[in-house]
């Protein structure tokens, strides 16, 4: 709890420091990291706590992003309409996809989530009215009213921070509730829970919908942040990226999604923008091959440290 408080204080102080130093770019970057943290946390609910290997999570983030963007593009600038609409749309989508996929098991579940996500990708790609492959550029960010100008990087940052903290707190409450305990039990041994008389399918579906809705909120924030959305946000490789974040950070740990998003995006930026001369001598052009490092780290984690960074931290604490 104390650690959480410390981190929160740092996060609150961060944009003030950056603005004073003149690096507004990093405030924008940090907002992006936090949005991905929200998306990864939503996947963590379904993957880490629910044990459901959904490869189509990008579809919910993308659906939220597109619904929010289309509304702004059509002139409905208010975030009070746009963002809840995005959440509702993703929740509905998650309900439909979950209802179909959760009837299946194992690889078929993975395949169906993957296939439906790809279907959404192709459908959105063919919507020429909203940019299709070129994507949709928005004239402005959504408007929150209340005297808050979301166009201001610092204000936007605090809004995103608020949502992230709320999401983490919500996850904390869910996990420690009866619902959460049942989900973890289902993850460990679904058959036993079924035998105990609990409706496993309904619990899983509810979990799926909550995660989808949260993913949709992340998508709406993402669209507002970049003022741009394109079908690639729905692609299954994006689902893979979210999964990497969750695994890296620690699947099934509260902070897993957030840590993973911060580490992955942070590393990408550092490698791309801060050349290390000594490394460039050994491996020229190493900056263009950052994914190699990501892949190796991921492989090592899966093989040897499946609990991710959060797992390593808690192991060291308990040692």
């Amino acid at each position: 709890m104390r650690k959480a408080l410390c981190i929160t204080l740092v996060l609150i102080a961060f944009p003030v420091a950056m603005q004073w130093l003149g690096y507004l770019f990093y405030v924008s970057f940090a907002s992006r990291v936090m949005i991905y943290a929200i998306a990864a946390t939503s996947l963590n609910l379904v993957l880490g706590y629910g044990g459901m290997l959904s490869f189509g999570h990008a579809a919910f983030v993308g659906a939220g992003a597109y619904v929010a963007s289309i509304l702004v593009a059509e002139g409905v600038a208010s975030a009070w309409i746009g963002w809840p609409a995005a959440v509702a749309a993703s929740a509905l989508l998650a309900w439909v996809i979950g209802a179909i996929s959760l009837r299946t098991r194992g690889v078929y579940f993975i395949m169906i989530t993957l296939a439906v996500a790809q279907m959404m990708f192709y459908l959105v790609n063919s919507m020429k009215a909203y940019g299709g492959d070129e994507g949709l550029t928005l004239p402005r960010r959504a408007e929150l009213g209340l005297g808050l100008d979301l166009g201001d990087e610092v204000v936007f940052y605090y809004v995103v921070l608020f949502v992230l903290l709320a999401a983490l707190y919500a996850l904390h409450r869910v996990v420690h509730s009866r619902f959460g305990r049942v989900m973890i039990a289902i993850r460990e041994n679904g058959a036993r829970v079924e035998a105990l008389g609990l409706p496993v399918y309904r619990y899983q579906l509810l979990c799926f919908v909550i995660a989808g809705a949260a993913g949709g909120l992340a998508g709406a924030l993402l669209a507002s942040h970049g003022k741009y959305v394109n079908p690639n946000v729905l692609h299954w490789l994006q689902s893979g990226t979210l999964m990497i974040m969750v695994i890296l950070g620690g699947v099934g740990h509260l902070w897993g999604g957030a840590i993973g998003a911060a580490v992955l995006l942070g590393l990408e930026h550092v490698i791309a923008d801060y050349p290390l001369p000594w490394l460039a001598q050994v491996a020229p052009n190493y900056q263009q091959h950052a994914s190699l490092g990501v892949g190796i780290v991921l492989l090592v984690i899966v093989l040897f440290a499946p609990q991710g960074i959060a797992g390593l931290i808690s192991r060291r604490k308990n040692a």
Binding site: C6, G22, L24, F25, D133, E134, G135, G226, Y228, Y274
Partner: protein, 392 residues
């Protein structure tokens, strides 16, 4: 708090990593974003090489000031291009942005520059919305308006008396512009208007349709890797003997000639430039390019070169005071430089007014495949959208 000493060290290290804040206005920073990987990489590479050649020939300077060109690869993905543009504009604080090959990447990326009053000099794509209603004071086009080559091709097809034409283009803004442009000047019947997927590589289905339709001519706009594959498959299906093919200049330039080879001989195309133009600037450019890169420059390389010369002239005319963006704009609009295409002047919408020529793929004195000029199709041709532009 448990951070203490380790925390202080981390904070200090992070601060050391931060880039040096405001940079001195004694150098020109140009953000160059282009497609440098994938099947269409040859286009971005040509533009980059042409651009960097101009800078090198000026001693590493633009307008008399040392120039730093930050090259980034958009990987043919609009969101990557956009992120690079954000970084260039917000973090690197460039004075100019340039380089993009494809319209979809440009449409996603340039709004960032425009919002921050950074001038984008286009060495290639110039989608029709920017020529008309969305014309922007911070956009300067060093190449041509998107429709131009296609309008010239349509005129050529009319001149040749082809009664029916089958049209194929990729399904994105530039593709739409291309066929609209062709139809504007083609007076025959359009047998079919087919849009393929951007980046599509297998055209067996489309070629079967062409065979069944038996048109008088086939017009395709398929730049980069798409064109290479289409023409190879077109020849393999035996259609090259049945149906005359017309392409815009970027459908038959060096990047496609190299992989396809002799099957390109005799192909007619339209462009604003050819390597055999006889003016001093061009002769110098072609000789320097062949010496430096050991290959014949394509129209993309010529555009990249001209884009650099345009920026150089503008910086020179404001005597290096690039902070005054309005002055830079005025200087750029005057375009006082010697373009490899001959005379250069801007229209009201900051896109060029120029001639367009008919070219054919033939062998030069050394037996290499090259585009030769054989006639003029349009003189002092602007574009169809300029009336909708409200700029002065």
């Amino acid at each position: 708090m448990r951070f203490g000493l380790p925390g202080a060290i981390v904070a200090a290290a992070l601060t050391a990593l931060l880039p040096s804040g405001g940079q001195a206005a004694d150098r020109i920073k140009v953000g160059f974003i282009s497609t440098l990987s994938g099947p269409s990489a040859a286009l971005g590479i040509d533009i980059r090489d042409g651009f960097q050649l101009a800078v090198k020939m000026a001693g590493g300077k633009m307008g008399g000031l040392p120039a730093e060109v930050l090259v980034g690869d958009d990987q043919f993905k609009p969101e990557v291009g956009r992120q690079l543009a954000e970084k260039n504009v917000r973090l690197d604080k460039v004075n100019f942005l340039t380089g993009m090959v494809f319209s979809n990447i440009m449409l996603a990326s340039v709004p960032v520059a425009f919002e921050n009053k950074i001038i984008y000099v286009s060495p290639n794509a110039a989608p029709s919305p920017f020529a008309g209603k969305q014309c922007n004071p911070y956009l300067f086009v060093a190449s041509w308006p998107n429709d131009a080559y296609h309008e010239a091709a349509g005129q050529h097809a009319t001149n040749r008396g082809y009664k029916s034409a089958y049209l194929i283009a990729p399904n994105y803004q530039a593709g739409k512009d291309s066929l609209t442009g062709f139809k504007r000047f083609y007076k025959g019947t359009v047998a079919a208007e087919v849009y393929t997927q951007l980046g599509q590589l297998d055209y067996s289905a489309e070629l079967a349709q062409v065979r069944a339709a038996k048109p008088d001519a086939l017009y395709i706009f398929l730049p980069g890797g798409m064109g290479i594959n289409f023409i190879k498959q077109f020849v393999a299906a035996g259609l090259s003997k049945d149906v005359p093919l017309i392409v815009p200049g970027f459908g038959s330039d060096q990047d496609i000639i190299r992989p396809v080879g002799d099957a390109m001989l005799g192909l007619f195309d339209t462009a604003h430039w050819a390597p055999d133009f006889d003016n001093a600037a061009n002769r110098r450019f072609v000789a320097a390019f062949e010496k430096e890169y050991k290959r014949i420059p394509s129209v993309f390389a010529a555009q990249g070169y001209d884009a650099a010369l345009l920026i150089d002239a503008a910086v020179r005319d404001v005597k290096g005071k690039v902070e005054d963006v309005e002055a830079v704009r005025k200087a750029m609009k005057a375009a006082r430089f010697e373009s490899v295409r001959g005379a250069f002047k801007f229209n009201r919408n900051q896109m060029p007014i120029q001639n367009y020529y008919l070219r054919v793929v033939a062998k030069d004195g050394q037996g290499r495949l090259i585009n030769k000029t054989i006639g003029t199709i349009f003189k002092d041709h602007g574009d169809a959208y300029v009336q909708e532009c409200e700029m002065k």
